[in-house]
Symmetry: D2
Subunit: 165 residues, 4 copies
């Protein structure tokens, strides 16, 4: 079995309630817990790069994500990322033309909430990373999208192809 | 977007607590609820064939599942199934040499329990159905297995390739 | 069985995730759902007065809560309320010297999150309302406190008697 | 603050899914986890007497529960118990005419399931134990019942007074 690199960058998926100020913030990633609790017997190389809201992601942080994709020894990479700028990061990675299958995913509702789709989405992203050919993709709403044919529909809270836009 | 046929047969995934007798039993499938709550924007043709524990599945019921695979108008099929005889049903379907991608999945812990992997597994199965080539597969533990190279390790409660057995 | 009036005012307990802006906000109260799902066979007269963060509660809104206590036909009243100013509202109600048992409760973590204590707290508040003598109380952390001998310990996120402060 | 003795005897509340045989069984009690996760700041003396389905409870085990009530140093006792014979155990305890407030509770749906009322019920039982006068009670469905005026309505899955029967 080939191993998969999981790059963690935060996003809504990993936000947690801070009872002192009533805000959803980052403390630690839930990704490992999600994958282990769901009994995945995959070899995952976890790498927590940052825990940020993707609207606050700096160019330097985006560069760090790209560099981590370049440097990863695995050919299959899943990246957890906020949904708002997921497409931007995907396009930055795509410029590198890496011979790797890279799948970005996230969630519209934090894992810490009862109705989150985080577990489902991470499941689909791990599956797509194992089966899709070389390229950069976004896995959301049960589908995969090529990095250059996807946008987040802010009104519906769903990702869609540009043809649908 | 191509549509996916979802054949529902029951299994642990769909068991629900019956408070009158204290047993886990079947009342109605949770599959549609799972897929909709996780915001999948896939076109799914749901077909509930039966709700049975796969240890109780009769030859006639297995024949019905095979027939539903043959008759499905979609080329991509996901089947929810109990884990105990999932491999047997997969091999029955494989005998037909259909030009379809067929993925069986299920869960070790019912969706009605707090720690179920049902949502994660259905996520992976839907993803594998969209990306794997023609054939019959089992999607469990975050992986996909060819129907003729998989067994359920009863001791670990996990699926593995025959080479690992 | 005597009926209980449940006055709903919002607070952290009832906050829900708004996926459009990533904030925890109010849409509708979960109190009825909580009580029914937990199989309470009490006669509850629900009255949703407002859905506000108690830090934003105006003097007019507090007056409305006091008036609702005065006008309630039940002798037993439970009020859901944000924790930050729960003691202030309790003292406003206490000034009326009503011949009723009035119990304020809330939650540190919203019901919409996986780790909320909302159900437990509402359970205790309903129980205290049925058994305590006439007076104004706060039910938090499994305990009941008299309105004039309680404070919220912001550091611990727990309520305690003034003697402990 | 007075401390409360919590006698754990099992019942549906504490049943957990055994994935090897597909049955709901006992492994360890969830009571401490429930009370701590709900942020109760009560002094609880936990005593796990047994973990049994109350239909399987032997006369010797019932005698052990009665003895534990007699020997408890706390005047307030909560007992978790299966619902089917909760009334029988309550009446055995009542024969002792102890100068203690003793409250039995349980759940119709195990805590390990998503829709359990275990947390709510334990909340009510702890509240009733703190406020009711000396006697033996059952706390279910948000209410308290005197041991000699209660029955489980098997059809409704709810407890009710004998007058309602």
């Amino acid at each position: 079995m080939e191993s998969i690199t999981l790059l963690i960058t935060g996003g809504t998926l990993d936000k947690k309630y801070n009872e002192r100020n009533g805000q959803l913030e980052f403390s630690k990633s839930h990704c490992k817990e999600i994958i282990e609790n769901n009994r995945a017997s995959l070899k995952i190389n976890y790498k927590e790069l940052m825990l940020v809201d993707s609207l606050d992601m700096t160019p330097e942080q985006r560069t760090e994500i790209v560099a981590s994709c370049i440097n990863a020894t695995d050919d299959k990479i899943v990246i957890t990322h906020g949904t708002d700028t997921m497409v931007i990061t995907a396009s930055e990675i795509a410029k590198q033309n890496l011979s790797k299958t890279i799948v970005l995913t996230g969630a519209m509702i934090p894992f810490s909430l009862k109705k989150s789709e985080a577990e489902f989405n991470i499941g689909t992203a791990l599956a797509f990373a194992q089966t899709l050919s070389v390229g950069v993709y976004i896995a959301m709403n049960g589908q995969f999208f090529k990095w250059d044919n996807v946008r987040k529909n802010l009104e519906l809270g769903k990702f869609e192809t540009l043809a649908n836009a």
